[in-house]
Symmetry: C2
Subunit: 292 residues, 2 copies
């Protein structure tokens, strides 16, 4: 593990060895609605050096286009095709990796981000906000029947999760052994307002528990997302660096994918946490803002 | 394992050894809305012999009073205090075993059965149908705060499960280490209309997954429910028999509780299933209707 903070020779060597940077956002680029000091300047200099930058997020509630608005609001230069969210990863995977048949459709539990990204890839889908209105009574249960046209269930964070959505997704997966079971990410919690709330992985457990199938997870740290990124952008893994603040998602994600890894100390990882972990980043720096 | 079918000596010996019968209902007494042949007659004769009968169900959506209506509709003699549902088990456990402080309240995820049984035991509660209206947007998340008055979360089947209920229950359990975590039962699915749908155990997984606590389960086959039944009715375990159609809930429940067990073949267990299991009932009979 190389400490880059205040070590300009080490920083120069690091920069020379990398062509593409994958950035986690919260805790690396910004904290909530505040950009971390000097990060805008660093990103701009990396672009000037000819480096490729990509922003990788497990947030599936927003499409790349919607997520871009956050960069615009914070005055950070970014482009839609530099943003790689788990909703888009799922849509790309369904279209290109699974080569999803055109006579099949995807049943979605999730929010607008997933619907928009499936539309962008031309994948037919049902569910999501169309099922926001729940069953009215136990006797409505019989209205939920298998639909052989559903070739995949894609599960993401859904503030409007309800029993109808869970029962439909369960029914398609339980009765159709060829139905793909996919999820945008498996984070058990997400941070908001100084605390944490149940995340996609928590809601997903309600669907997984009664099934004998396990989902393919598209988000960090799972290798499927890395395959999709490397495939789409034709990256050279050895000259690509994952930059993040979380050891068990970002750094593990980079490690498992054969990338270089840079840990920043502006997010959830503490000095003590770094001493005690088995997940060792290649490089560490106090802040992305200190890189240049 | 003693086969009682058609063996009147064995049946007589069995009846002489038992004072109290605990009956599972679906698959033993009835199939959906049809009473199994001769069961009404058998129950009536058991009463005439002076046997005590109790009906034990994991269904937490109905109170004992509401569940009694099913017996009335099907013309089966039964009394509210003979019915032992998981909602009542939970209420009794909270009141008598936990000796729940009067300045605390229970946060409920569940339906009317739980509310009514907590009322019957005089336990303060919040949540349940009062939280059927979900959060409207992600920014409403901040309205969910810890409430130090919540001394227990009780989770049962809830057709109106939503994110607000999950986030509240999670918040109380996550932030208050003394908050009891209870669930009425852990069945992953329940049967309806010839198929199965996600059950209490599935929904419960969404709450358990992000927590480092595991719930105390009040339903079959967990020993807590047995403790409550034995305690309330002052039963002699050796002279009590659990009668059921499921090896992994009813028969296991009886076994673990030190009761005698009688498997009936009118429900989910097949002859092949019985050959292959490690869970051996003490007695087996083709139908409860054949007992007398």
């Amino acid at each position: 593990m190389n400490q880059l903070t205040g070590n300009s020779d080490a920083i120069q060597g690091f920069l020379d060895s990398i062509d593409t940077f994958l950035f986690d956002c919260d805790g690396v680029i910004w904290h909530g609605d505040h950009v971390i000091q000097n990060v805008v300047n660093v990103l701009s200099q990396l672009r000037e050096m000819g480096k490729k930058v990509l922003f990788v997020t497990n947030n599936s509630t927003k499409s790349r286009k919607a997520y871009l608005k956050k960069f615009v609001t914070l005055n950070i230069e970014a482009y839609a095709d530099e943003i790689f969210g788990s909703a888009y990863a799922a849509a790309y995977y369904i279209k290109h990796t699974l080569q999803f048949p055109i006579d099949k459709k995807v049943y979605v539990v999730g929010m607008a981000g997933i619907q928009e990204e499936l539309d962008s890839e031309g994948v037919r889908h049902v569910g999501s906000s169309a099922d926001d209105e729940n069953l009215h009574s136990m006797s409505d249960m019989s209205s939920i029947k298998n639909d052989p046209e559903v070739g995949a269930v894609l599960f993401g964070f859904d503030l409007n999760i309800n029993y109808k959505k869970l029962a439909k997704a369960f029914t398609y997966l339980h009765h159709n052994k060829d139905c793909h079971f996919l999820a945008t990410n498996s984070d058990l919690t997400f941070p908001a307002g100084g605390t944490v709330y149940p995340g996609t992985g928590a809601l997903l457990a309600a669907l997984s528990a009664p099934l004998d199938k396990k989902p393919t997870i598209l988000g960090k740290p799972e290798p499927t997302m890395m395959e999709v990124i490397v495939n789409k952008y034709k990256l050279n893994r050895e000259r690509t660096c994952m930059v993040g603040d979380r050891l068990d998602t970002d750094i593990l994600f980079g490690h498992q994918g054969g990338l270089k890894t840079l840990l920043v100390m502006t997010g959830v990882t503490t000095a003590q946490g770094l001493e005690q972990t088995d997940i060792r980043p290649d490089f560490v720096i106090d802040s992305l803002g200190s890189l240049l």
